[in-house]
Symmetry: C2
Subunit: 219 residues, 2 copies
């Protein structure tokens, strides 16, 4: 066991070095970038799709799509005619900075304003790997239940923004917003919480306004 | 990288040895055992709760509860007055056979008929670790979307039973049963699919009947 821990540490160090490199490349080009994490089926892809749909006239987007295998999500972005890079981890449970570095090397980044990196669907492993993006986002859907912050605290601490998704299903669930919000304040007081539905568009403007302020702050 | 792979291989071998030991212990006592896997919030805990609720007069249950941290789920079983062992992986993204072996050493297994092991909420990593139980179950909820089989094929191949949960939310989702069923048949034709709602009890009897047949087959 000790051996494994030592090797993991060196992996973490190598990852941090590469994350710094990714960050420098993106900052130099003034690209606003997001690492979008969350459980399988929390609605990460639709969240990114709806964001692009809202802002495609204003900004140029690119997407790096992380999945164990396949191109199901990547194909959903075809309609936008933007650069989409699929990374298949082949069983790996998270993206790392090296994969993102390879991903951005495939994009003409001079033409990009905003980059979304959709991580592998997993509420545990991605929280240990800085991938060099500016902001970490965790997407949690109300159908997953309101105990997720306490059960998977690391990813909420790691995230600058928490998107609480699928609020359109609130009437059919027993989700307790106040509990979720209080848990998040306790575990990670700096994380910004935005409740919305990517499907119906409910409160989506709050996220769009927030993103526009972030982008303005960069220029 | 090569180093890491070698160590993982030896970990896998060690795990298989321990899984065999667990299996022998459980078989000797004629205990029917399940490894319950699934995304965070797919409804694993409630599924186990409802099963126990249905059969607690007929059988003696025990639960080994795997979580990154905390005892939120374990506490839900207090009401049944049964042995419940919480295993906290401290960041680890799956249970392994050694953890289950330690878990069962804490239970008076002579008094147990059915053992549920609830794995860490994760659709990727648990599929690589046999934990020595008789049947692997993956719980997938319809709110996660119908692309999960194709996106996370390994865990569906690894599972003897797929519980498609939260069918009570069908009217408010665009879930396509036929697609899910066809994907599962293609990826893992041996896996038995049972659609139900742990919350409302819809079609739960199908699972209960199946479990009773399994238990009968053991005696």
């Amino acid at each position: 066991m000790l051996k494994v821990i030592r090797i993991e540490k060196s992996l973490f160090e190598e990852n941090e070095k590469l994350a710094k490199e990714v960050r420098e490349i993106l900052n130099e080009k003034n690209i606003l970038s997001f690492n979008v994490m969350g459980s399988p089926g929390s609605g990460k892809t639709l969240f990114i799709e709806k964001t692009i749909e809202n802002l495609k006239e204003k900004f140029n987007f690119a997407v790096i799509e992380g999945d164990v295998e396949g191109v199901i999500d990547a194909e959903k972005f075809k309609k936008f005619n933007i650069p989409v890079i699929q990374i298949n981890t082949g069983g790996g449970c998270h993206l790392d900075a090296n994969m993102v570095k390879i991903g951005i090397s495939e994009i003409k980044i001079d033409e990009i304003d905003i980059l979304f990196v959709e991580n592998v669907g997993n509420l545990i492993c991605p929280a240990e790997f800085d991938i060099g993006t500016e902001k970490n986002i965790v997407v949690s859907s109300i159908t997953e239940g309101n105990d997720k912050v306490l059960k998977y605290p690391l990813i909420f601490k790691f995230s600058d923004i928490c998107i609480l998704n699928k609020v359109d299903l609130l009437p059919y669930s027993e989700f307790d917003f106040e509990k979720f919000e209080n848990d998040l304040k306790k575990i990670s007081p700096e994380t910004i919480l935005i409740k919305l539905s990517s499907k119906t568009g409910e409160n989506f403007f709050e996220w769009i306004e927030y993103l526009r302020r972030l982008k303005k702050g960069k220029k």
